[in-house]
Symmetry: C2
Subunit: 367 residues, 2 copies
């Protein structure tokens, strides 16, 4: 059932997007400011479910592509959504009925809200990941066999690239090359589809899930970290302090590692986390305790707000948590696309709840 | 007046393309083999002038983009022309009437012949440079104000990128990023235009010019170098031996320098040549003796065949020559686009005939 999103709802959605983002998807701060401005200028956004749209209505999945850290100084113009829409409508020869976040994680969960407000279009309460992933084809639509292309990349200057006859890792390769040439980040739309296709190819209810997680943080009386853990059914991997961050921008990604030294009950333990835009693998004293596609997130020990990979710094006190990904990522094609091996790790995938007894199941709607 | 090109004409055209290529445009060897095969399979190519086509007929300017040296091991499939044609016809909403070499220099003067044979389309006796240049927007169509886009880049696998709202150096930047992602080289089409536009925006008669230069080499009885010099009205800069080549692939270009040590009457002199895919600047004992946009070419001392930048090696005995570019490159916008400053040199442009008395004028047709 559809409902309106107002300016007051945005901070909670942003907080939840950051928790779901596994450290990536881009810090939501600027995107929240832009969405706030857009809602003030253009009014509330209609958040819709599959049932609220005609089955043949077109859903434009969209977001930003590139190294999130670049967005700190390369701001968007707000017009990228219109450029994407014009190209997708030209390709489809039909009007787009709703926008959808390609990934609910981080700023990419917020950006389509800005675009939807400016375009007077609804946003579908769903996304293509149920988290954030670094690579363009790591989408549930890819798992469902929806073609990625023709895909569109645009920048804030209005430059537009359309890719035809591209699938799988080639989408990633070609789009990222253009994003880098545009200055390290660009907006893109892939896997445009009908509502009927979206129903079987996307993760349902994730805007609402983000809002629910964010509200848990906002409403927590004295322990927001515990509130997040309860809201998503996460395992607490460690409470600790960042003692080392190695981070570089490479091939259009933020890559590196972060090391937490345990505090309190975790003293004498060390948690190492590998990064490719998102947190990929967490090892406690050398043993894997969580890995992609499950969601690893670092929370500020005091505020419960998620710490993005591009903001990590020495001395931060954080609580590392992990919780299950949307179930489709645990299918064979899901693991092939975004399991440890997809990122070059020679590691078997073990479910986070098998590694951490007491951890819950995917906190969102089941498809 | 139109005429047919046959298999027997190809080697001469290839030789002439290499002389006009200023060391670049890609070595013509493989492209000549492919064109030979295409003409054997599909019959002769119709070479046409502006007057042979309807004024509103569309000319597709096309060729390869990237570091020429990559073409030694990354061969084309021959289908790239069809992919480009399909996308250009989709963009224009009309059929293409003829292909044209974006640059007559090197293999890029031959490649459209292969594509035209396979597509049963004529080739316009003209090109967009009257030589080869390294960057995509260094085209006479750019000087004439023809829009570059929407432009198309394809690879031999059939991947297709279409760029809209791009002009000037952005065409270069975005297309090269995709060419690099495709493996270092890709096919492209920019500045598609009507025949009426081509008449005022292209260098006329350059396929015929290439053929005439090639025939001079083939028909020379004992001094093919002298035959080339006579055919293009060149200045002889130096006869010498390569004593140093510094060459690297960087940003999708072959860059570097070559040094010739003089022989015979030139003994004790040194000629240094700067390279970016093409020979850009020649300095004899430190003094500039020729520079872009004029054409610097190195000829094999024995055969008169032009030596491409990617084939230079220690010990080669070469004759360095230079001759004037097509006149349009000497206009203010021509020099801004492809003069020394366009390549980052803080050098004034001085015409090759002013630096080398006895040098002739542009050997091709005047527009």
């Amino acid at each position: 059932m559809s409902r309106d999103l107002h300016v007051k709802d945005l901070p909670n959605i942003a907080r939840g997007c950051s928790v779901l983002g596994a450290g990536g998807g881009g810090e939501a701060y600027t995107a929240t400011l832009m969405a706030t401005q857009a809602l003030m200028d253009y009014g509330p956004i209609r958040l819709v479910t599959y049932d609220d749209l005609a089955p043949d209505s077109i859903v434009m999945s969209c977001g930003f592509l590139g190294a999130p850290i670049v967005s700190f100084e390369k701001l968007s113009s707000g017009e990228e959504g219109r450029y994407l829409l014009e190209e997708v409508e030209r390709i489809r020869g039909a009007k787009v009925g709703a926008l959808m976040c390609a990934e609910i994680g981080g700023s990419n969960g917020m950006v389509p809200l800005t675009w939807a407000a400016r375009l007077s279009l609804p946003v579908l309460d769903a996304d293509g990941m149920g988290r954030a992933f670094p690579e363009v084809h790591q989408e549930t639509m890819h798992l469902a066999g929806i073609p990625a292309g023709p895909t569109v990349v645009v920048d804030e200057r209005g430059h537009r690239a359309i890719f035809r006859n591209v699938e799988g890792a080639w989408v990633e390769r070609l789009e990222r090359a253009v994003a880098i040439a545009c200055g390290g980040i660009a907006a893109s739309a892939e896997y445009h589809m009908t509502v009927e296709e979206a129903r079987r190819a996307t993760v349902p209810g994730t805007v609402t899930l983000a809002e629910r997680i964010g509200r848990a943080i906002a409403d927590a009386e004295d322990d927001p970290v515990a509130a997040v853990i309860a809201a998503v059914g996460a395992a607490r991997l460690m409470t600790g302090k960042i003692v080392d961050v190695a981070r570089r921008i490479e091939g259009g990604f933020v890559r590196g590692t972060a090391t937490l030294e345990g505090m309190g009950g975790d003293a004498a333990s060390v948690l190492d986390i590998d990064i490719q835009n998102e947190y990929l693998i967490a090892r406690r004293d050398g043993a894997v305790v969580a890995s992609v596609p499950d969601i690893i997130t670092l929370l500020d020990e005091q505020t419960g707000e998620a710490a993005h990979t591009e903001r990590l710094r020495y001395g931060q006190r954080l609580v590392a948590i992990a919780f299950p990904c949307a179930p489709v990522w645990r299918t064979p094609i899901g693991l092939e696309t975004a399991g440890p091996a997809a990122f070059g790790y020679d590691l078997p995938y073990i479910r986070v709840e098998d590694l951490n007894p007491g951890c819950g199941s995917w906190p969102g709607d089941s498809a």
